[in-house]
Amino acid sequence: MKGWQRYSIAILLGLALGVGGAWTKIRQGFSKGAIAIGVWRTSLNYGTTQTDAFTRASVAVRGLLALPSTETLYWSATSDSDGNPLSGSCTYTMSGGTIDARWWSVTYYDKAGYLVANSADIWSFSGASVLPQEKDGWTVTISPVKAGGHWLPSAKGQGFDLTLRMYNPGDGFRAAPEKAALPTLKKGECA
């Protein structure tokens, strides 16, 4: 084998290893400042000039133009409490109480991060949907068929992610973000 062929192979292999390794790390999500509570994951370290390069790239891929955590927290759920990827063919019960933020919502996205068409034109569930008598305990059903009570439609046969947005998180949250009270997600029957 000639010298230029060896160097060509070496450079191509190096590029593949470097780009592949970086892409894998970026797809894994947040690196520094990550917090996990139940099925939810976020980072307190994005959107600022101090953000590390991999977290910055991960946010660019998964949620471009996100606000910094001082303004808004974006929690992501990609799997159920058993670690299985969320499936639009299954029914999930999401339950929660008071969320320490000025305003909050949970939005349903496909695996690429886009809203999914459904016959009800419902793509999110927010604090504004919680009735006064549900203030301390509310439940929403995520399922491909219409459910009683609060319902967030899913797309049968497709995986999905949830994003919980907390706009202007409260002082209690800021003092101990790792102890935040967040909704639970319980998997039910699958079609």
Partner: protein, 175 residues
């Protein structure tokens, strides 16, 4: 084997270099495409008041269907930009300014603004700005100014249109 020693070192160096550079290439690349995409819907240095996000209207990934977005893609090549913001009373809104590296170089919500209109200027280092103007200095020419406005329901967007249109952006009028 000796003939492979130097190529292996080149391979290792290339791998390390590619690993370190890839995040920046991805970040700048995605933001550059986003700025171009938003500018294609309006134009640079003008505020566009978009419709709410639906499956048929998603200019960027992971949009919130509960917010009305107004966007000002900017290019400071020809001079600084001013953004005038008019918060809508009694509801969450914010202006955030993202540079070409996706960093938030400025954010202010309606409470921080005390519900009052305000103006900020975005300028590169060295660009002259009229005295007394609140100025955000950025490292890159391009970026996006983004106003988020919370909707109680999607049907509200029509009635809020006149209030949204009070917020504008454009070249600084007097230097």
């Amino acid at each position: 084997m000796n003939r492979w020693l130097t190529p292996l070192l080149v391979c290792a160096g290339t791998a390390v270099g590619a690993y370190c550079l890839t995040p920046a290439v991805i970040t700048f690349g995605i933001m550059d495409r986003a700025v171009a995409k938003v500018a294609a819907r309006s134009k640079f240095n003008h505020m566009a008041h978009g419709n709410i996000a639906t499956p048929a209207n998603q200019p960027i990934v992971r949009p919130s269907p509960d917010l009305a977005y107004s966007t000002c893609p900017f290019d400071l090549t020809d001079g600084p930009l001013q953004i005038d913001v008019h918060p809508v009373s009694g509801r969450y809104s914010s202006l955030s300014v993202f540079d070409a590296r996706t960093d938030v170089v400025f954010v202010r919500n309606d409470i921080q603004a005390k519900g009052a209109p305000y103006r900020v200027v975005i300028a590169r280092d060295g660009q002259s700005v009229p005295a007394g103007m609140e100025t955000i200095r950025v490292k890159y020419d391009k970026g996006i100014g983004l106003i988020r406005l919370l909707l109680a329901s999607p049907t509200e967007i029509g009635s809020l249109e006149p209030a949204r249109r009070l917020s504008t952006c454009g070249p600084v009028k007097r230097l």
